[in-house]
Subunit: 407 residues, 2 copies
């Protein structure tokens, strides 16, 4: 074991929760053993806000059963925060760290949290108060750089794939046009996961729209009309961040139009406005294009269930998120002063496997990673096999459904 400062550690959770963010938390807790350099592990209540306000829970010495229950509990057991600290805020954190003899800081979060971790680490160096800082990745958006994929994504993708697989059967039962709005403001990773639910070519999603491939109202209408003509129904998976061809998101446009009509603020996330808007477009434009056909049109916004649904996490994602927490402690105990935990894929398909490696905070902070352009089909309304090969091992087994037309 490296020669490490004796002292306390703080751990916090940040940003939008996932179904496995507590696996990483428990991975850290269970890896800190008595007799090592870390004396206390202090859980910050609501992330950096809890640190600033001195609100901590002691995390060591917990009963393994309780930890296991917490590990399988979705969302941040310590509470989360949307606070993005500026320099003054960071200085305040630092004062609390000093006062509590904190020498180690683990932060579970996305790219913003990695940036916070980076800033705190650098301030420690400058202040000659060496603080060892590790970031543990989590996001259902799967948009962090460096790592093959992000803890939290597999479970959200599993939820979306199962929801789509079932909703496609609903759409086949009572045929019409169904629009499902899926989380992802800037990247289409989670919406792309809708295709993992597709059983065969007759099944939906028949159209998939992601932020990386803008779509005009006209093209959307043409696409839906063509799919409906072919299948007698149409299931659409659409990212909440999908853009018009002028580069502005459809969500923003709807908000602006609502404001022009003086209907007050429309909150897009946690709202059905985008789905309702495109449902109206189908009722008007697609129905007209199909010769005035009366269409059954519905929209659902999957919303927070994608990240919080209890009891349906991906077993692969659970195990990897746990490992990410364990590895953060391992890297610290090996003497590393800062970093992030990242996954490298070392086996494909049925031999799928990952190894962890330590990355630099600056390489995961701030910037995000889009869905590769060549994983979107040429017509900008579907997802290719390359994505399926990438994502299928992350979500665990899906329920196998049956048709009467199968052999």
């Amino acid at each position: 074991m490296a020669d490490l400062p004796k002292g306390n550690a703080v751990i916090g959770q940040s940003g939008g929760p996932t179904a496995v963010i507590n696996q990483s938390l428990v991975g850290v807790i269970e890896s800190i053993k008595p007799g090592g350099p870390i004396q206390r592990l202090m859980g910050a209540v609501h992330g950096v806000r809890g640190i600033k306000e001195g609100q901590f829970i002691d995390l060591l010495g917990r009963c393994p059963d309780q930890l296991e229950r917490i590990a399988t509990t979705p969302c941040a057991a310590l509470g989360s925060t949307r606070d993005k600290p500026d320099a003054d805020y960071c200085k305040a954190l630092f004062e609390v760290f000093k006062k509590n003899d904190v020498r180690y800081f683990f932060y579970i979060g996305g790219n913003d949290s990695a940036d916070t971790a980076r800033i705190v680490y650098e301030m420690g160096c400058e202040a000659n108060y060496p603080l060892r800082v590790f970031h543990i990745p989590k996001t259902i958006d799967n948009d962090l750089r460096l790592t093959d994929h992000c803890p939290g994504y597999g479970s959200a993708a599993r939820f979306v794939a199962s929801a789509i697989r079932g909703d496609d059967r609903d759409n086949a039962s009572l045929p019409g046009v169904k629009i499902d709005i899926i989380m992802g403001r800037h990247a289409g990773w989670l919406t792309a996961a809708s295709v993992l639910g597709r059983m065969d070519d007759s099944c939906g999603p028949h159209l998939v729209y992601v932020p990386e491939a803008p779509v005009s109202r006209e093209k959307f209408v043409d696409d839906v009309a063509a799919a409906y003509a072919k299948h007698g129904r149409c299931l659409v998976a659409m990212s909440e961040g999908v853009e018009d061809i002028d580069g502005k998101s459809w969500g923003e446009k709807i908000v602006e139009s609502a404001e022009r009509d003086s209907h007050g603020n429309v909150q897009l996330s946690g709202s059905g406005a985008l789905g309702d808007f495109f449902a109206e477009v189908v009722k008007k434009d697609v129905a007209a294009k199909l010769g005035g056909k009366k269409l059954r049109v519905r929209a659902d916004t999957f919303g927070y269930l994608q990240r919080s649904f209890a009891g349906y996490a991906s077993p692969v994602d659970q195990a990897e998120a746990r490992m990410a927490g364990q590895k953060a402690v391992e890297y610290v105990l090996a003497g590393h002063e800062s970093g992030t935990v990242a996954f490298k894929r070392v086996g494909e398909g049925k031999n799928y496997a990952v190894e962890c490696f330590r990355g630099e905070l600056r390489d995961v902070a701030r910037e995000t990673k889009d869905l590769p352009k060549d994983w979107i089909n040429k017509t900008g309304n579907g997802i290719t096999q390359a994505f399926i090969d990438y994502a299928l091992p992350l979500i665990g087994d899906l329920p196998k459904l049956g048709h009467f037309w199968e052999k």
Copy 2:
């Protein structure tokens, strides 16, 4: 075995799908053995519409593996319909029955389908073409009379309870006001199931609104403000059919107001409009009541996932729906000419068990069953223990989650 007419049977599925409607279908299929009075079992594609149009699938002689996959597939494997036949339509059905030597008709559906079955049965008697007609209950709404509960309800209730259990953790992670809109236009059974997800008194849902207990805007605002003041957050479960105190549903009011503003038709089911409306009410009125506090407010509409989500059905509900299909055939083979399958509860709590009995079609047709008034708390914003005792055995085990504040 009773002296039964030799001939063919038709089976159809009707109305909004459930996660277990195919269990009942497979229960019928597997109970019809070669050498009995039923020669062919013809699956009507999209219910009565398929009968009228002569669209059938042969269902006997299928491989058991395929049937098992279909049984666990959500939504109507034969296709469903919203058609509610009038006298002429029924006459047309009858012609097809005669032409195909159909002597038995099984119809899986809700109260409207039971009424269709009743009409068809009576027409057969009058026309001196005896047709044996059985209704097999299904609805996520749980609002059929006669039976203790309806196949399909347990799985939808399981989905809602798990969604709420997880979403409550989300709301605890990032505190604010969250409104979840749950299916149920006329009865609050499914919304009431939200309380099955509650782990302890600190957990949501903190408020539950069902159609049986109208709520004014003022009372809603007072309730949310009080819950927020107590818990520092508030999770609301609300039926899509919740009413204002003048007896008009809030959904209708929003549609009317949207039409007045010439925003065209607002579709309430498969739309986020109701949740978005109450989210705005919270942002304005509750925030003001709490002294201008800036509140994080979100709304989700659980939508079609409640009835169609793949891979999360209640095992109890699956087994009971299967049994309902089997019993329908049993009653027919025992010589009964018509009826519905109903459940009687013969054990409570851990000793929960049901027995089936045959009911009359007229006793389940048309009318529906509300949530008992005394299962709603006195303040009209919560659900009592009596409901929990009733519903908990129907949904299977829920995931056990953990807190840091537990012993």
